[in-house]
């Protein structure tokens, strides 16, 4: 889907929200839902940061780390990809306290979602690093660079561009998963919706607004990642043309 269509869809969804907000029934719910959306965005941003850090670390550990580190990273990736995000969230929220570690719900949300998406992310970091042409490594060797120098200066900058689209998808997955934190009592967008629904039974306006708000947030991420991709690949395109 082209970036123009995405921008058009974002504009359309914001316009629909604006039009609906002129109606009394809808206007009633908007402030509360926006409040929830702020928490949703906070969790999504912090979770994404953690996911990127974990994804890069796990991928590097699995590819270049010493054996124990490699196993540790593999176990991490398999466990977090093999169980569902909700189970991980519940485990951290309900089970961890029984081992004497009590975390606050917000921290649990960021940790669970960040670790979950980071495990998927490590695979796309690995794929991107492997997609860099072998000749680039060989050129680095010819220049007598150390492996970490080659990684830092030659391989990762090129792998970075290949990573942008899959990470974009993962950020959207993470944003969507934030709805799960409503089930561990955080008052995010999904929680506000449920709460308002139980109090007023105005189901249609509430869930329509919520869907539109999530849509607008996801589309913003998509558009942002497309722009980043365009910018990041500028240098590469120039290099190829020369």
């Amino acid at each position: 889907m082209g970036i123009r269509t995405l921008v058009a869809m974002l504009a359309a969804s914001l316009a629909v929200i604006a039009v609906l907000a002129t109606q009394a029934t809808y206007r009633l719910f908007l402030p509360g839902l926006l409040q929830g959306a702020v928490l949703t965005i906070e969790i999504a941003v912090l979770g994404s940061l953690l996911a990127v850090v974990m994804g890069v670390l796990a991928a590097l550990a699995r590819m270049y780390g010493p054996a124990p580190l490699r196993w540790l990273a593999t176990v991490y990736v398999e466990i977090f990809r093999g169980t569902s995000a909700l189970v991980q969230l519940f485990w951290l929220f309900f089970v961890l306290p029984q081992f004497g570690v009590t975390l606050d719900a917000f921290l649990v949300a960021v940790l669970a979602l960040g670790l979950n998406v980071g495990a998927y992310g490590s695979e796309c970091v690995r794929g991107a690093i492997q997609s860099v042409a072998r000749g680039q490594w060989e050129a680095g060797t010819a220049l007598n660079m150390s492996r970490s120098q080659m990684l830092r200066r030659i391989i990762l900058p090129q792998a970075f561009i290949a990573m942008i689209p899959p990470w974009g998808n993962l950020f959207i997955e993470l944003l969507k998963s934030t709805a799960l934190v409503s089930l561990i009592t955080l008052t995010d967008l999904a929680f506000k919706a449920q709460q308002m629904n139980q109090n007023t039974f105005k189901t249609i306006p509430i869930f329509t607004l919520v869907l539109l708000m999530y849509l607008a947030m996801s589309l913003t991420v998509s558009i942002g990642m497309r722009l980043l991709e365009k910018r990041a690949s500028l240098g590469l395109a120039r290099g190829r043309a020369a």
Binding site: M1, T5, L6, M9, E78, I79, R81, G82, T83, S84, A85, L86, V87, Q88, F90, W91, F94, V95, Q98, F99, I172, K176, S177, T178, A179, L180, S182, L183, A190, A193, Q194, N197, T203, I204, F207, V210, L211, Y214, L215, S218, L219, S222
Partner: protein, 219 residues
């Protein structure tokens, strides 16, 4: 005592029973996803003017959380006179959500079919339905089976969301056990281990299947 083996053995049969509900939801959901996804992908190609509408629809479904879609179907549909029980509503929501993902997989499969195959069937005066059924689909499906398999596993891992509308699948059962006994460690860990085991096994199966299909294609 952090882990109680006696308690574990006691709740194991209850969880095993609930696992059947999770698996049922997975299979029914996947049947909807695979069929509806195929329908969307075929309509998109057969009726060109729908292409844009369908891709916007797919984008809409993929951009909003499954949990909210489950709530939407469970709470909003009754307002239009369509009352669904929790299990049905959940399965339909999961099915529609994954249909959006599957339709993209099918589309990639169809795109990989050589143009000449279409031209040949036009030359043979085959209807577009016959072309799909006898020429395109048999060639398009085998290479995308592993991708569909991955979505089957992903769908299975989403079934705990049904606990949010009180379907008695694994997660809901574990939560109930936890709230009755104040012991969450064993039930939730067991649910996690069950999903881990299932997804490791299915990942191995998908890899084997992929190898098998590649061999056949190479031959």
């Amino acid at each position: 005592m952090i882990w109680d083996w006696g308690f574990t053995l006691e709740i194991l049969p209850v969880l095993a029973h609930a696992a059947i509900v999770s698996i049922e939801a997975t299979l029914l959901g996947f049947v909807i996803a695979a069929t509806l996804g195929m329908v969307l992908a075929v309509i998109r190609i057969a009726v060109p003017w729908t292409a844009w509408t369908i891709s916007v629809l797919v984008e809409l479904i993929r951009s909003t959380p499954l949990l909210i879609q489950i709530f939407f179907i469970y709470f909003v549909f009754p307002k239009f006179g369509l009352v669904l029980d929790a299990f049905t509503a959940g399965v339909i929501a999961i099915g529609i959500h994954y249909a959006a993902y599957c339709s993209e997989v099918y589309r990639a499969g169809f795109d990989n079919i050589h143009r000449g195959q279409w031209e040949a069937s036009i030359a043979l005066n085959l209807s577009s339905w016959t072309t799909f059924r006898d020429i395109i689909i048999p060639q398009a499906i085998p290479p995308i089976v592993p991708a569909l398999g991955n979505y089957l596993v992903a769908l299975f891992k989403e079934t705990p969301l049904l606990s949010a509308i009180a379907v008695l699948e694994l997660m809901q059962t574990a939560k109930i056990i936890g709230s009755e006994t104040f012991r969450y460690t064993e039930p939730i860990t067991l649910v996690g281990l069950f999903f881990l085991a299932m997804s490791l096994v299915s990942a191995a199966l998908i890899r084997a299947l992929e190898r098998l299909l590649n061999q056949r294609n190479a031959r």
